[in-house]
């Protein structure tokens, strides 16, 4: 079980994202995602942070430029915890593919499948320490192997103990997201 998991799927290019404010509003209106979505916030005035955030009850989806890298940040906040990384990843990828499909957007988004950031924003149960890494690693590996194949990825713990538990995953030569999503068991 992974608590308060956050996943970031990086975009191929850095593009302005303010144009996605109306897109997220439309997602709420048309109930595009099968979950309770509440509002959209525009923080594009903030440097290197969550720029456009789709606030939900269980999950927030942010077009985030944290650490200068644009991506879709999936933030699980409450509700049934994703039992496995793959469950959370399936939801994040689904949102990313929907964003890619926004053809009318002035600056289309395309997501990479060869890099991933995994964060657990729960310092009580998962501080950014070696012990947490050792505890979570087997589960992470199992799910990432199912996704990328054994030995096809690297996993690295990053950040200091002040920051949330964070790992970076690199999987050079990974299949495109649309392919990968088929491998994610969401049952």
């Amino acid at each position: 079980m992974i608590e308060k998991i956050q996943l970031k799927l990086f975009t191929k290019d850095d593009v302005p994202v303010e144009g996605y404010v109306p897109v997220f509003h439309r997602w709420i209106r048309e109930r595009v995602l099968d979950e309770l979505l509440i509002d959209v916030v525009d923080y594009s005035h903030v440097a290197d942070g969550p720029h456009v955030v789709l606030i939900g009850h269980e999950v927030d989806y942010a077009l985030d430029r944290g650490r200068g890298k644009l991506g879709l940040l999936f933030v699980h906040k409450r509700g049934p915890r994703p039992e496995r990384l793959s469950h959370a990843l399936a939801r994040a990828v689904k949102a990313a593919l929907l964003l890619e499909a926004e053809k009318g957007a002035e600056h289309p988004l395309q997501f990479r499948s060869d890099a991933l950031l995994i964060r657990v924003a729960d310092r009580l149960n998962a501080p950014n320490t070696d012990a947490t890494y050792e505890r979570l690693l087997p589960g992470l590996k199992r799910d990432l192997e199912a996704l990328f194949g054994a030995g096809k990825f690297e996993i690295k713990r990053v950040g200091t103990t002040r920051e949330p538990f964070t790992v970076e995953v690199k999987a050079e030569g990974a299949a495109p997201l649309a392919e990968l999503v088929k491998r994610l068991s969401v049952s």
Binding site: L36, I38, D42, V46, D48, H57, A62, K77, L124, R162
Partner: protein
């Protein structure tokens, strides 16, 4: 192994009374979930812990085409009238005088990451706000703050809000003396004080080190204290010029002078007396006229002063009035580095531009105050941690949040300015322009506020972008402030150009507008308010700003201020400059007018909810009785855990709480000593037969008397503790009945 909780992890790190208060709040949450606490009472209890409602928390949101219901999982459960339990809310973190240490900042960053939307927001009253927080996360959030010395108690609700002060106190050239220790002590003195629990509305206090500068903004506060000195028999005495009854909102009011010179040792009793008069005579039913400014106006300052002094004479002496005077150094900041000189240039153009607008020399030679321009008051946890590190490297814990939603480092050794700027620039916070026209201040407006009419943040963001280009020197010095509605949290009345959100109906559709207010004055503590010039469609406001600033730049005489310019040229002519901008084309011709800045949905006012600024009117007795019920509940829990003595102590305390709540109605000076409480309760309620059961007579009162006699001296068995808990429950019920019977209960 027992489950790890923040309560356990932080045990011993939280002040005992703060920890207990948070436990009580957590219990209130549990009881509310079981519908065992009344909705209004819970709402006010939550507000007084800084847990505020947010837009759409009634479960309705207009999506641009129609209103949709937000179906939250907890269904009908509410956390206040029309406020869905699961709806995200705002957490206000009270920072007295905006002071923050590196450690505190780091904790707030953690909280933003774990419970909020990864953004920290500086308010116009030196608080930090986190948005989109779930009510059930708040007790742990509060514990983590309490462990680093921050309480959110009374950050919202009908209470004494954050006490603000000029951020430059202690280092300013113009101040009479450093007001920090006074503001700090007053915050602790009034926190949870009995005399501030029965207000009809909120109460805001500000301190200023001088009369002339803008930073303290005393003029629009409920109570304002300006440092002053007097020489008596050759000795310099410290004191305060005390003002009362200022306020913004739809009826802005200048504060009135209550005391020309209140000696330092008299400041707290005077304040306490003001609070008592406000609690006793302030409006309770009509919320829109319940601030103290209306009371001062109604009574007249002379009568208000007479009543205050009369109340002052009745106060029971309190050592806290003056104890703090023995340790005025408590808030003193020690520089981390020795003073130094800025190395001779040349420096980069970026640094020079930043230095021009964001650096002010301190009174102490070799040191400066450096301002971090926070766009719209927002920053990320990564930025926050970097700021904490910068403070550790250059200044020590001497940061403050400012009322113009920026952040300052004090005690920067001048030789470090170049490096400090480079480090800020590396985290995207090295922009110049603090205290300039592009540094627009704004309240949350329709982004998150339930009362927002127009998007003040959207407008502020747009103006920031447009004003980022170089401005003529005179124009650059102007200030713009935006409020989303007439409540004026953006403090637009005191800006050169102020905007307040309104809406207008045009061709059967709603169009977001802003009322333009020109010529307010920040100087002299927000000394005078601007003139309203009529409403402009939101989308034309940037054009209005550009026309007015152009006219000012071209037509001002000498060093004429904008306020003086407006007064000389006249309202009529100024209005004529922008008259045509008020025209709204039909929707079919230009639909962009029909949505607001930063929000592409078609504009509606349907999302405006019932504000919580006004809180719920809950009397001291109601709060006291609720507290006693919580004590009984806790006693029952302890009993179930087999902790008989603890359960008995709690049960006794429950009865004392209830007795005190009642007795306090008859004696405002009642203290906290059990002996005194029991005596007063007996005198005013039992001997008068007010606390008297028609069948059982004084039986329930006897439960308290017996428990009081036995307190501390008895070891309890399961049975005797059980009996005491039962008796406490009956006593608390009887207290409720007695209170209702004499008709003092509020509807």
């Amino acid at each position: 192994m027992s489950e790890s909780t923040w309560k356990r992890v932080l045990e011993g790190k939280i002040r005992e009374d703060w920890g207990r208060e948070i436990d009580v709040f957590e219990t209130q949450i549990e009881l509310r979930k079981k519908s065992k606490v009344e909705e209004k009472l819970f709402a006010e209890a939550r507000l007084r812990r800084g847990v505020y409602g947010q837009r759409y928390d009634n479960g309705q949101r207009h999506d641009g085409e129609k209103t949709q219901t937000l179906t939250f999982p907890t269904g009908d459960l509410t956390k206040g009238p029309s406020t869905a339990w699961d709806a995200p809310g705002m957490m206000r973190i009270k920072l007295p005088m905006g002071r923050v240490s590196s450690q505190q900042l780091e904790v707030m960053c953690e909280l933003a990451e774990e419970y909020s939307d990864q953004i920290l927001h500086v308010t116009t009253r030196q608080d930090i706000q986190l948005h989109f927080v779930h009510i059930e996360d708040t007790p742990n959030l509060m514990r983590r703050l309490a462990a680093v010395g921050i309480t959110t108690r009374e950050a919202c609700g009908n209470s004494v809000r954050n006490i603000t002060a000029c951020p430059l106190v202690g280092v300013c050239n113009d101040e009479s003396f450093d007001v920090s220790p006074y503001a700090n002590a007053m915050m602790f003195f009034l926190l949870g004080h009995d005399d501030v629990q029965s207000f009809g509305r909120k109460f805001k206090i500000a301190f200023s080190g001088c009369k002339t500068n803008p930073c303290g903004l005393v003029n629009f506060h409920d109570l304002g204290c300006i440092a002053a000195t007097r020489t008596v028999n050759g000795e310099v005495k410290r004191g305060f010029e005390v003002y009362v009854g200022g306020g913004l909102g739809s009826v802005p009011q200048n504060a009135q002078l209550l005391e020309e010179f209140c000696p330092e040792e008299e400041l707290f009793p005077l304040t306490q007396a003001v609070c008592r008069v406000f609690a006793r005579l302030g409006e309770k039913d009509n919320r829109s006229r319940a601030r103290i400014k209306f009371l001062v106006k109604k009574l007249g300052i002379e009568e208000f002063k007479r009543l205050t002094l009369e109340e002052r004479a009745k106060l029971r002496p309190d050592e806290r009035w003056t104890n703090f005077l023995d340790n005025l150094a408590i808030t003193e900041e020690k520089p981390l580095k020795p003073p130094s000189k800025l190395p001779a240039g040349p420096h980069s153009a970026e640094f020079e531009a930043w230095r021009r607008t964001n650096v002010q020399p301190q009174r102490q030679e070799g040191y400066s105050v450096a301002t971090v321009t926070m766009p719209l008051g927002d920053f990320t946890p990564d930025q926050g941690r970097a700021i904490a590190d910068i403070a550790r490297r250059y200044t020590g814990d001497s940061m403050r949040a400012t009322v113009d939603q920026n952040w300052i480092f004090r005690w920067v050794s001048d030789g470090d300015l170049v490096k400090l700027h480079a480090e800020l620039a590396a985290i995207g916070l090295g922009e110049p322009g603090s205290d300039r026209i592009g540094d627009v201040t704004s309240c949350p407006g329709t982004d998150t506020c339930k009362l927002g009419i127009s998007s003040s943040r959207g407008l502020a963001g747009e103006l920031r972008k447009r004003l980022a280009v170089e401005q003529p020197a005179a124009v650059d010095k102007l200030h713009i402030k935006c409020s989303g509605c007439f409540n004026s949290c953006g403090q637009h009345h005191v800006a050169d150009l102020g905007f307040l959100g309104v809406s207008r109906a045009v061709n059967n559709r709603r169009v977001p507008h802003f009322q333009l207010v020109v010529g307010g004055q920040l100087q002299n503590n927000g000394g005078s308010y601007g003139l309203a010039l009529g409403a402009i469609p939101s989308k034309r406001v940037p054009d209005a700003v550009s026309r007015l600033t152009k006219a000012y730049n071209e037509r001002r005489q000498g060093e004429e201020t904008f306020k003086a310019f407006v007064e000389r040229v006249g309202k009529k002519e100024i209005k004529a400059l922008i008259e045509d901008l008020s025209h709204v084309p039909p929707y079919e011709q230009d639909p962009s007018y029909y949505s607001d800045w930063g929000d592409p949905r078609e504009y509606t006012i349907g999302d405006i909810g019932v504000g919580e600024c006004a809180g719920e009117v809950v009397s001291f007795v109601q709060f006291g009785l609720q507290k006693s019920e919580l004590e009984v509940f806790e006693a029952q829990v302890l009993l179930d855990e087999g902790k008989n003595d603890d359960a008995a102590t709690r049960a006794y305390r429950a009865m004392l709480e209830a007795a005190r709540a009642l007795a306090k109605e008859k004696n405002a000076n009642l203290g906290e000593e059990p002996e005194e409480i029991v005596r007063e309760f007996k005198q005013h309620w039992v001997e008068t037969k007010l606390f008297w059961d028609p069948f059982a007579g004084a039986k329930f009162a006897q439960y308290l008397f017996k428990a009081h006699e036995e307190a501390g001296g008895k070891t309890h068995s399961k049975e005797s503790a059980h009996q005491l808990v039962e008796e406490a429950q009956l006593f608390v019920d009887a207290a409720h009945q007695a209170h209702t019977r004499i008709g003092t209960a509020l509807p």
